[in-house]
């Protein structure tokens, strides 16, 4: 594969989840998502039942990618923050490191100022964990060095089974 895969282990995932949970509480947000730039959801916290999280992740990534394209057109590296204001709910989207996107959904129980403040602090912590994941991926030769990849013995039969054959 051309680029390093994102491989997340339980301990890192727990840390991310903890930070996201804390941010959601501190910012008095309805939901907080951590998404990667390719549109995959990494972690989430809050009232998730009311939201189609998968679509939200993919659309956010599309949105960020499009805005990134706009930034480059005018000679900016990126727009690190996007804010969408609705009648009741608002979305605060910010870039974390090279590959993360932090999405905060909030209503009148919170404020843009509070969200910005809390996001700033959480971003720093999230960034550290992303760096760890990246460093590990670079120093170890893939997952194999940590333990046997579960995919080393995928058979044709396994793949057929996925399609219900």
């Amino acid at each position: 594969m051309a680029k390093l895969d994102l491989v997340m282990f339980e301990e890192e995932y727990k840390l991310l989840q903890e930070i996201i949970g804390r941010l959601q509480k501190d910012a008095q947000a309805k939901v907080v998502f951590l998404v990667d730039k390719n549109g995959q959801q990494i972690a989430a916290s809050g009232d998730l039942k009311s939201i189609d999280a998968t679509s939200l992740a993919s659309l956010t990534a599309g949105n960020v990618a499009a805005t990134d394209g706009l930034a480059k057109l005018i000679g900016e590296k990126e727009f690190s923050l996007l804010f969408h204001e609705g009648e009741k709910d608002n979305l605060h989207i910010s870039i974390v490191g090279k590959r993360g996107i932090l999405v905060v959904l909030f209503d009148q129980n919170s404020s843009l100022a509070l969200v910005r403040l809390r996001v700033k602090k959480a971003s720093k912590e999230l960034q550290d964990i992303f760096d760890q994941v990246e460093n590990r991926a670079q120093t170890e030769t893939g997952v194999g060095a940590r333990f046997e990849s579960p995919f080393s013995e995928i058979t044709d039969e396994d793949i057929d089974k996925l399609f219900g054959d």
Binding site: M1, L6, M8, T54, A65, P150, I154
Partner: protein, 194 residues
Amino acid sequence: MTFINYASREINCKIVYYGPGLCGKTTNIQWIHEQANPEKRGKLVSLATETDRTLFFDFLPLDMGTVKGFKVRFHLYTVPGQVFYDASRKLILRGCDGVIYVADSQRARMEANIESIANLATNLKENGFDIRTIPYVLQLNKRDMPSAATVDEMERLLRFRNEPMIEAVANKGTGVIETLKAAARQILLELQKS
């Protein structure tokens, strides 16, 4: 870029449908959406114009079941095929794990097919991928059209790396699942290698 989450035991793979305008990319994933078990499919998101032309992308998440105890989820994307949406196409290829190239079998569209493959190669390269090595499937769509070119002719013009080549009529579902399966197979075997 596959996302492997060891904590929730999930693998997410991104597959992109590419091809010239009106070749049937959206039709492919609409058919998959209609056929898939409602519990296993997510919502089909289409960012289209008022005339149903894809503006940015269509997106369909699919839960495929498990392999070696890991839940496998495919995220299917289509690109807008019209030539002037090139900037959007490039963005959608970001982090993809495999490409399904949908070719339009009508003779009059052969030039558009060739142009679009060249465009795919350029856009993949800009995203750090190589069209000669990335998991790739060639689908010959609209085989039922009276003006369809022969399979031999299309193979000669469009097939360049011995990739799986599948004949399809996407609006009737013919060949749609076979195409997806051929791409899934390559992506999962690629995971095995890495």
